[in-house]
Assembly symmetry: C3
C-alpha cells in the first residue's frame, strides 16, 4: 500500500506552530490530502497538545519571542513522545534573529527533517554562495551538494524544494523533478508542503521513502491543478490545487513521474 | 419577512474574537451573507468596540492568555449593552486549558448561545461517551439528548452541528438535516457558522427560530455550492460556498428543506 | 515603460505590518502583480528587515500594543533608509485607540502616503460629516475636498478609495472612476491595495503618477475579474481577481480607462 493510502487511513493529526500568513491554507491543505490540523501557540497548552497529536511542524515565518518559547515546549513534548518534528526555516537568512532561532531549535530539539528552499538551507549552513532574499531563493549553486552538506552538518533529513527537489539523508539522496512553476506564485505552498511532509513522516517506514512520496504526490498534484482548464493564474491555482490534493491517487503519481 | 432578509437590511456588525486560522474566511462569509465583520483582540479597545457592534463571537480556536482577557472584556461590554454573545468552544476537550477557559467564560458571562460539534459540547458537560480529537468530533452518542442536556446544564441555547444539526433550548428542540459532507473538509466552516449565527441572533425574534433559520440557510447554501458543476473538492467548494451565501434566498431554503 | 512593467522587473519586496485577517490575501496579491511580501511584527527583527526590503506598509486593522511598537521600529528604519512608508488607517474612527495610534504614527514617522476610505480619512482629520462604522465608510461628503484637506493637513499623499478614487497631494488632485462594486464584498481588497500602492511607490518617478497608475491597474483588474463568466459573487471574484492582477497589462488599463 502507498504511504498516501496509509495517510488517508490514519488521518494523522499535525500540530502546526506556523506563520499567520499560511494558517488557513495549511489547514485546508492538510484536510484535503487526508490529514488533520491543529494550531496552537499558547504556552498554556502547547505541551499538552502532544498527547493527542501525531507530529509537529515548526515554521518560523512570522516569529515572536513567545512563539519561540512555544516551539521549544511543543518540540520537547514531541521528542519525549517520539513523534516527528519538522523545521521550516522560512527566510532563515533574512535576519540574525531568524538564523539564531533556527540554530537553537536544531541544537536543543531532535529535528526529524528540515524543509526549505536553497537560500534557506544555505543560510543554515552559512553557505554564502546562495543569497536569501526575503522568503524567496536566488543563486546558482548545486542544490544536490547543498542538501547533502546540510544533511551531514545537522545529521538529519533535508528536503530542499525548488525547480529541482532534493531529499538527502546522511547516506542517501533522491532528486525529484515534477511540479509547476506557477506554484511559486501562491504564497504558502512551501509552508503547506512542510506540514504535508510532517504528516507523511508520522507513518511507519524509512524516512527518505516517505519524504520522496510526499514530494512526488505534492508536485504531481500541482501539475494536475495547473493543467485544469479553469486555471489561468495563481488565484485559480489555489482552489484547484486543493482539489487535486484531495483527489490524487498513487496511480496519478506513478503515471506522471519525471525520472 | 425572513430573518435572512432582515439581516441583509440591517447588516449587523459582528465583533469576532476568533482564531487566526479562520479570520479571513469568517470576514468574507459575513460579508457574503449580508452582515459585516470587525476583528480585534487588543485590550486597549475591545470594550470600546461594543459601542459600534451588534453582536460578539468568542471562538477559542487559537487562544492566548491575552485573548482570554480580551474575551472577558468584550463579553462584559456586550452583556452591558444587551447584545448577543456566542461561544464557539473549538476543540474544548483537547486540553485542560481550553476546557477551563470555556467554563470560566460560561460562568462569568451571559452567553446567548453555544455552537459546537458533538465532541465539543460533550467535553463542556463532561460526557465521556463522545471523544474529542483535535477540532473534529467522533463518537456515536445521541446528539439530540446531548444538546438537550447541555442546554439544561448551561441554561442557554445549544446549536450542535454535524451530520444532523440540533438546536436545543431549555424547553424546545429542533433537528435539521440539510448540508453536504464536503463542508467538513473546508477548515473554518463551523467557525464561520458561529459568526453567522451571531449575526442572526442580533435580530428581533425568538432565539430558537433565528438559530433554526441560520442553520438552514447555511446548510442549504452548502448544498447549492456542492452541486455547482465547477465544484469537485474542498478547494473549489470554498469560493462557490461564499457565492452561495451571497446569492441564497428564503425561497432556496424553503425549496430544499429536508423535513 | 509603464510603472507596472518596472514593478515586474524589479519585484520590490514589501514589508507588511498588517492585520491578521488579510495577510494571506495580501501576500498572494503582491506575488500576483509581480512584487513580493515579507511579514514580521517581531520586535527582535522588524528594524533589521529594512536592510532587505524596498517599502513598508503599516495597517492598523488588528492592532496590539506590541504591533504599534513594531510599526515605529519598522517605520523609523524605513525612513532612515529612505524607502516609502504607507499608512492604512483601518477603521480609524472606530475607537480612540486606533485614532490616537494613527496620529502618533503620522507625527513621529515620515509617511509617504495614507490610503483609506472616506470614513477613515475623515476620522483622521476630525471631519464629522463622514461617519465611520467598523471598517466600512458611510456618508455623502465631497470626497475630492476631503482628500485635499487631508493632504494639506498631513502634508502627504492621500489615496482615498471608494466608488470614486481620489489621489491628492498638496498641489495636485487626480480622480479615478474604474472598478466594480463587488470588490467591496471581498475582505481585504482595500488592505491589499495599500500594499500594492507601496510597491508602486518604491519605483522612480513622481508619487502622484505612480499612485494613479496603481489605482487604475488595480481597479481595471477588478473589472476584468468581475466580467469573467465564472464569477458570480465575492467567493469566485477572489481567485479570478488574483489571476487578473497576474495577467493585466498596461494596454488593458489604457483600453478600459474611464475618463
Amino acid at each position: 500500500m502507498s504511504y498516501l493510502q496509509k495517510l488517508r487511513e490514519t488521518t494523522p493529526l499535525i500540530h502546526n506552530l506556523t506563520n499567520e500568513v499560511v494558517m488557513n491554507f495549511t489547514a485546508n491543505g492538510l484536510y484535503a490530502i487526508g490529514a488533520a490540523p491543529v494550531m496552537s501557540k499558547a504556552l498554556d497548552e502547547v505541551s499538552d497538545m502532544a498527547t493527542i497529536t501525531n507530529g509537529v511542524l515548526l515554521n518560523i515565518g512570522t516569529l515572536t519571542s513567545s512563539d519561540v518559547e512555544a516551539m521549544f515546549l511543543a518540540g520537547k513534548a514531541a521528542n519525549k513522545k517520539g513523534i516527528p518534528v519538522v523545521l521550516d526555516p522560512v527566510a532563515a537568512g533574512a535576519t540574525s534573529y531568524r538564523l539564531e532561532t533556527c540554530h537553537k531549535l536544531l541544537e536543543e530539539l531532535d529535528i526529524t527533517a528540515i524543509r526549505g528552499n536553497a537560500g534557506e538551507i544555505a543560510a543554515l549552513i552559512g553557505d554564502e554562495q546562495w543569497a536569501s532574499r526575503g522568503v524567496d531563493a536566488r543563486g546558482n549553486g548545486d542544490v544536490v551538494s547543498l542538501a547533502q552538506k546540510a544533511a551531514a552538518t545537522f545529521r538529519t533529513l533535508i528536503v530542499l524544494t525548488g525547480e529541482t527537489d532534493v531529499i538527502a539523508s546522511e547516506d542517501e539522496t533522491v532528486v525529484c523533478r515534477n511540479g509547476t512553476p506557477l506554484l511559486g506564485s501562491v504564497t504558502g505552498t512551501g509552508c503547506l508542503f512542510s506540514s504535508v511532509l510532517t504528516a507523511f513522516l508520522t507513518l511507519e517506514g524509512p524516512a527518505i521513502e516517505k519524504a520522496t512520496e510526499a514530494i512526488r504526490t505534492y508536485t504531481v498534484a500541482s501539475e494536475m491543478a495547473a493543467e485544469h482548464p479553469q486555471v489561468k493564474g495563481p488565484g485559480t491555482l489555489h482552489p484547484y490545487f486543493l482539489d487535486a490534493l484531495y483527489a490524487i491517487t498513487p496511480e496519478d503519481v506513478e503515471k506522471r513521474l519525471v525520472r
